[in-house]
Amino acid sequence: MREPAAASERAPAPQTRRRSPPQPAAEAERILALQRAAGNRAVARTLATLARTPTQVTNANREERRAGLGAIAWTSAYEVDFVGTECRLNINAKIIREAGVTEAEENSVKSVTRAEFLRIWDNKFRLTESGAATAVYTLRVNVTYVTSGEHVAINLHPGTGHDNRRKWFVNSNATDRAHELGHQLGLLDEYVDPDVPNRATATSPGVHSDHSIMGNYYTEGRAAAEAKLRHGQRIAAHICAATGRTFTASMAATPAPAAPPPAAPAPAR
């Protein structure tokens, strides 16, 4: 499942646009008209893609802790683009390798993290748009590793430690990183934390013990951790706010097949 780092990286990354600059509207229309007249639909589609700019989605997330403790606060960010029947969500992640981490380790972390992120989050939700034109989009997700223009910068440390959204460890499990990227999607933790009033006990409103990827999957079983409808609904709400369009989230009927586990190293002979 490993892929060359070069295939997964691009630079600079987009707050606006990383491909060629957008055509001025009138010029684009003129070219499109010509291509339509010529019947070259493939070229027309390519030009239409070039003229599209992804929408940047950000949200200030906050969860209060009890008195005397600081809050849990972060800004989630990613971009979305609507292509055909897909809503393509992408996180541009910049990995900053700390001392003691090899390039091979970095590439391995990138590869297994993307596979697990897609296993958990890709093709799990449908977004139904209401309004002038009703349409249904499949929410596809991706993480793109960039060297600039990142939505999130992540320090990659050697060995083991406590991962969070901006700090990963080489020996941590990839499910934790899929969980942390869930925070980058604007999702809150769902495990019991006595320091957080909304999650202070097992019956608190913010706690869910239904094999949520944002919950305590360490106890419930890491392999069973999955995305939940409430996650899709929160993501949809943030996309609505950013695009000015109205979407309703539902679970995808046919989830994408699970990614195969990373190949085990061949035994030494």
Partner: protein, 144 residues
Amino acid sequence: MSLEIPQPFAGHPDLTVEITTGTEHWRAGEIALAVGGDGRVEVLNRRAGEEQRFSGRLDASDVDALGADVAGLRLPGRGGDTEPDETPVLVAVRRDGEVLSAGEAWDGRRYEDARLDGLLRRFDAIVSDVTGGRLPYGDEGPIG
């Protein structure tokens, strides 16, 4: 305020250093390490309503090294905003159960504070040794 502990720590069998990290319902749970001046070591792990205990011993030089790590350490508290999943760290020095000195911080502080990082590296090493590598990072799933 800095933590206070008489030096050398191994000369004070009535004293205990307690270092607690984690939270009960996330990852490996809450892990509490207690090291006495006489070298006794106990690790209590609370996880999702269950608990497990481990015990061991440190030699005098390791006890003194831990005491030196703690002496004068300034912990800034947990007042600042954090990322999700941040881990609490609590350190206390007790004499016969009574708290003489205590402080707390977020685990992420260790990347800005070499002394805290050194103490937590020692914590990791002692816990790993006493638990046979099951903690603080290697274990998961329900206890028992």
